[in-house]
Amino acid sequence: MKLLIKNGVVIDPANKIEEKLDLLIVNNIISRKEKNIVDNQAKIIDAEGCIVTPGFIDMHTHLREPGFEYKETIETGSKAAAKGGFTTICCMPNTNPPIDNQAMVEFINMKSKQVGIVDVLPVGTITKAREGNELSPIGELVKAGAVAISDDGNCVANSEIMRRVLQYTQMFDIPVIDHCEDISLTSEGVMNEGYYSTLLGLKGIPAAAEEIMVARDILLAKDFGGRIHIAHISTEGSVEIIRWGKKVGVNVTAEVTPHHFTLDDSMLQTYDTNYKMKPPLRSKSDIKAIKKGLKDGIIDVIATDHAPHAELDKHVEFNIATDGIIGLETAFPLIITELVHTKVLNLQEAIAKITFNPAKILKLKKGSLSEGEVADIVISNIDKEVLITEDFFASRSTNSPFLGMKLKGSIEKVIKNGKIIYEEGGN
């Protein structure tokens, strides 16, 4: 079985390559990457006018299974991932029951293998039941296949526990992913605290609620070691604190979601709950700082925080609506439209943040188009428009503020392990 991808522009940030090259895939491996490959036995894929990149890796996905299958399942989430160009996704442990023991990791692995569309890598919890009190059996989780740990949705409030986690995980060399939120400051807040929360009469969440915990985590990692990865940052202050952390040599990495560099808190004026998430959408100046942080490499990764919710979770009074939006299928067009076409990032920088950089943080042998690598490949057209409608989504949920928008950046073909798992316009 051979595939030959011809005439595309290969973007391979790991090898600093950006040129028109052909890729020959033999079985499931990238066998050659050269100009003008001829192979009469190979099935030819014409990528003229397209870019050819490694399969995307999402460090932050909520698949909702088990416990909330009405929102998403491992199967529907995998399909959404494939459609969005993600060949590897890391699923967060806030399921019911949570992924806080070996059996749950094994369950996720078993289910995702049965589904067999993309690689689903479980993230285990930091503490039992994500309650912040007692450490999860981290060694067992890692042994079963967890690639990182996080209490996502909850911040680890207790600094002593965070210290111990950062120390303990050094034995396994995995990242600790923290959802940074000082819950005493968030209180009953439902949106960014600022002019628009005043206008709307909605309780605000100050930027400091996030920044205090970002600073705490970095200071703990500075003193005690470990690898801290800051999930979904949203404020200018967080960017600056992480900048400092990196400068003084702390092993800190960070991610941002596409919505946090695209949308701002003025958009909540319709009380549309598709703009409600944690962390909340911040101000235009925060967005500017985040874009600079992406350019400067302070923010290593773009992650979706794909958070499916059903209509009955979202079509309710603002304060009681659940937080979060789906993101797997809109991530690439948002990156292309908001960062690449606007020249915030060049293509190599942008693609690195959804391929090579997350692979490095998670220590995965993925995210590049080196010869000999497993063939996880995305062929996309960055100038082609996509219209975001409910039918556009393969996810079980459609809670997206991008509905109705036209964006540039179309995923044309997705190859996982040498097989085509998604084709635009196909089934």
């Binding site: 605290e193 002019y195 005043t198 206008l199 009469g201 909605l202 309780k203 009074e317 603002f318 304060n319």
Partner: protein, 310 residues
């Protein structure tokens, strides 16, 4: 002018506000007569649905609707139906299926009236949503000021108290600014919401400075439970710093008027002799509330402002 919903004074033009106020004047004349009823909304049904306790606003809307000859349905929703798991939209659609024309709603969550207006067919009147707006209170406050001062343009109005949590403050600010008043908000710095000065108001945390030369003082109710959230140390200290008594009233213009949307905490934000004193228009506000709400209901029914009486 005719409008389908009344959600927020932020959305209403100066002209529409003036239309409502002018019409309210006519209705006030009517309700002061021995026969207080007009047939305008005969055959129409008004639902008063209150998800928060209220005496004044609910009865005011009820009377306003009845004096326009509408049928009125009062539903006080405790949290019980929330516990039963019925969604807000389902509750409202169920009642609406019994053929309702107007829904007057109060809810503790900001944005609920707007949310409803997008999901049910009836006309929605916001009777107070969370910390967002209370447009008919804003209108009746403006009406009361206009009645006493004969104008709004150029007046200095101080809104005193818990600005952060106050829907009355927000509706007053929007309405009064549109009519050319100069607004100051006065209160403890913990109860001044972020960036409020961007609305075009001046912020004072010192009562003496805040009341200097003002024509109108609108005193907000202080929710006693705010103290438990450490927004101020003690009720006693709040009263000391921001409670209005006859002494502190002297900071304002000699002919200033004193308002309060009620219910009052006598002895805390307002002393009894100020509440009952000659500068107080607090009872007038209540009377005017009915007239203003009649005007709102009337105009929402598509009525013309020139043909009120038969």
């Amino acid at each position: 002018m005719a409008f389908k919903h009344l959600i927020a004074l932020q959305d209403i033009s100066k002209e529409d506000i003036l239309d409502i106020l002018n019409l309210a004047k006519t209705f006030k004349e009517i309700i002061l007569k021995p026969v207080k009823k007009v047939p305008t909304l005969k055959g129409k049904t008004v639902l008063n649905i209150f998800y928060e306790p209220s005496t004044r606003t609910r009865t005011s809307f009820e009377l306003a609707a009845k004096r326009l000859s509408a049928d009125v349905l009062n539903v006080a929703v405790s949290t019980s139906s929330v516990v039963k798991g019925e969604t807000l939209i389902d509750t409202l659609r169920t009642i609406e299926a019994m053929q309702i024309d107007y829904v007057v709603i109060r809810h503790s969550i900001s944005g609920v009236p707007l949310f409803l207006s997008k999901n049910i067919k009836s006309s929605i009147i916001n009777a107070g949503d969370g910390m967002h707006e209370h447009p008919t209170q804003g209108l009746l406050d403006i009406f009361t000021i206009m009645e006493k001062k004969k104008k709004i343009e150029g007046l200095k109005v101080a809104i005193v108290g818990d600005i952060a949590h106050s829907r009355v403050a927000r509706s007053n600010i929007w309405g009064l600014i549109k009519l050319g008043a100069k607004i100051r908000v006065v209160g403890p710095s913990t109860l001044i919401p972020k960036d409020i000065e961007k609305l075009g108001v001046e912020v004072f945390t010192d009562l003496k400075q805040g009341l200097k030369d003002v024509d109108v003082i609108n005193i907000l109710r202080i929710q006693l439970e705010r103290q438990k959230k450490n927004l101020f140390p003690t009720i006693r200290e709040y009263a000391m710093l921001f409670g209005i008594n006859t002494e502190k009233l002297k900071y304002a213009k000699p002919d200033c008027m004193v308002m309060h949307p009620g219910p009052m905490n006598r002895g805390i934000e307002i002393s009894p002799n100020v509440a009952d004193g000659e500068k107080s228009v607090i009872e007038e506000q209540v009377t005017n509330g009915v007239a203003v709400r009649m005007a709102v209901l009337y105009l929402m029914g598509g009525g013309k402002k020139d043909e009120v009486i038969n």
